[in-house]
Symmetry: C2
Subunit: 320 residues, 2 copies
């Protein structure tokens, strides 16, 4: 039987720890027998999982022997990983096991060095930190998971379900995976990746900085046609200086900053109003509904209608 | 602060236990402060959670004092619930708390008697058992959750996320709930309910029983127009006898059995082939594509295209 070791380090996120238990232990082969054996493995016998502590029945030796090792996220993604853990993971990989991380578990996997030069993902809120800490890893925050064969990473929280179902499909085909998905009350395949869940906060210019007034003016006027020349004129700078200041203070260009502001405002209107999509496109400054749909799809990973369905207000108030 | 007590009984399903921790502890109010305090409460200090054991930091007194009590499922839904647990739950409810179950946690909630006369749901695979055990409860297996105000129940596994997000929306509005949903990488609202995940297994007639040959014939010929008269003729019975035998041996009528067979076969074709929906409708015996779409939507809770997106084969093989 295929053995799945789930690594429980101090600070382990209970949800990420539980996801592989939930998905893998329910899988039955066509003959009815279980397809996987799931072992919770601690580096220490007692593990602090935040809201509770747990006893891990297995240790790091089971990690090194497993067919698949799942790395759940830890509350503190930046916590140093003990050397014996990294050793066990490298040994497992060298022995042919596949390693798959959920959420901030990507930090543990990256610490082994095995992800260097490969694409990876993690929770969208942690993607920038992962990229900064591991510049050799090509971090993509837009997808639900990345499959490099024997090294997989998934996005945050519920994306761990997508990852586990994907592994089942790889191991046993679509029919078995679809049954596992039905038992987990999750689709086997979700549209739109992680991009649709990302909150596109604008990096605010430091209060009192030179850019602050023009950023506020851009937000207030994003419904209008703001060219780079017009923004520069408002800021009283050359376009070249404006671009440099933007790069320094927000990490992006004025027009990209403006686009994200418009998309974020459109997301809010899709969530909070019943305005037709075309009216929203105009209100956030897109000249054509088609340009709006294209850009929205590129940034959010899904179309405005699907986004509204996922994040809309309830159709009616719930009974009290 | 709003206190959420999560009840951890022996046999607790780790995923159901972790879902409220994951969702509620991440919620921040617009000012930045946490909105909920989550307490894991055991009836005993050490709790057997299957793949691991855990220490619950709180006891049943915290259940009775909570604003919201979450009842995760237990591996054995039929396990008797200790009296002191039922007492704590009834006391919490009498004191104004709301009680919400995830998956087979509905069995615990029903055991309090508080669900009598109310609508409720649970994991689709356990719905018939819940209805049989608690005939006073109106069990609906098709929805992701049921909100009776202070008594809520949700479907299996991932539907617990839907329930918790729903509670956050009730408490703090759509914007806060949408942010919690983004952090959980889940939509705030999912289309199609639990119905789309249900496996519509036909209750097989006992091997060698009078109905077995005619059931097999119906399956093999479901693409044809099978009237009740035609089925009865094939079975060599009057339609009245056929109806009675069906009721005894399958719990349903011949035509409803046939419809479910057709829908199940259509689901399989949507998952495993690229045939156009209209061709599938014809292949499983629906005279018109519209009739097929209507019936599919009624049984599965979503339309054939959406179903295919959720459970389709991968577009291409994954890198090995």
């Amino acid at each position: 039987m295929h053995t799945v070791a789930v690594l429980a380090l101090d600070g382990v996120v209970p949800f990420d720890l539980s996801t592989p238990i939930e998905v893998f232990t329910r899988v039955r082969l066509p003959g009815g027998e279980p397809a996987y054996r799931v072992l919770i493995c601690g580096a220490t016998p007692t593990v602090d999982a935040g809201a509770f502590t747990l006893q891990a029945p297995f240790g790091l030796d089971a990690v090194a022997d497993a067919d698949t090792v799942i790395l759940p996220g830890c509350a503190d993604g930046a916590a140093p990983v003990p050397d014996e853990v990294l050793d066990a993971l490298r040994r497992a990989h060298a022995g042919g096991a596949r390693l798959a991380s959920i959420c901030s578990g990507a930090f543990i996997l990256a610490a082994t060095g095995l992800l260097d030069g490969l694409r990876a993902t993690t929770h969208w809120a942690g993607a920038a930190a992962l990229a900064a800490r591991h510049p050799e890893v090509d971090v993509d925050p837009d997808v639900l998971y990345v499959d490099n064969g024997r090294l997989l990473t998934s996005a945050g929280a519920a994306a761990g379900l997508d990852l586990c179902l994907h592994l089942i499909r790889r191991d046993h085909g679509s029919a078995v995976a679809a049954d596992a998905a039905r038992l987990s009350v999750m689709p086997l395949e979700r549209e739109g990746g992680q991009a649709q869940f990302i909150v596109h906060e604008q990096p605010p210019a430091p209060r009192g900085s030179a850019l602050e007034p023009v950023l506020r003016w851009m937000e207030d006027n994003c419904a209008h046609d703001l060219s780079l020349d017009r923004i520069a004129a408002r800021a009283g700078m050359s376009t070249r200086t404006l671009n440099r200041r933007f790069r320094e203070q927000t990490g992006t260009t004025p027009l990209r900053w403006l686009q994200l502001t418009r998309i974020r405002r459109a997301q809010h209107l899709l969530e909070a109003t019943d305005h037709p999509v075309d009216r929203i496109a105009a209100r956030v400054g897109f000249g054509s509904p088609t340009a709006f749909r294209d850009r929205f799809k590129r940034v959010v990973g899904t179309n405005p209608h699907a986004y509204r369905s996922a994040f809309r207000r309830p159709a009616q108030s719930t009974p009290a």
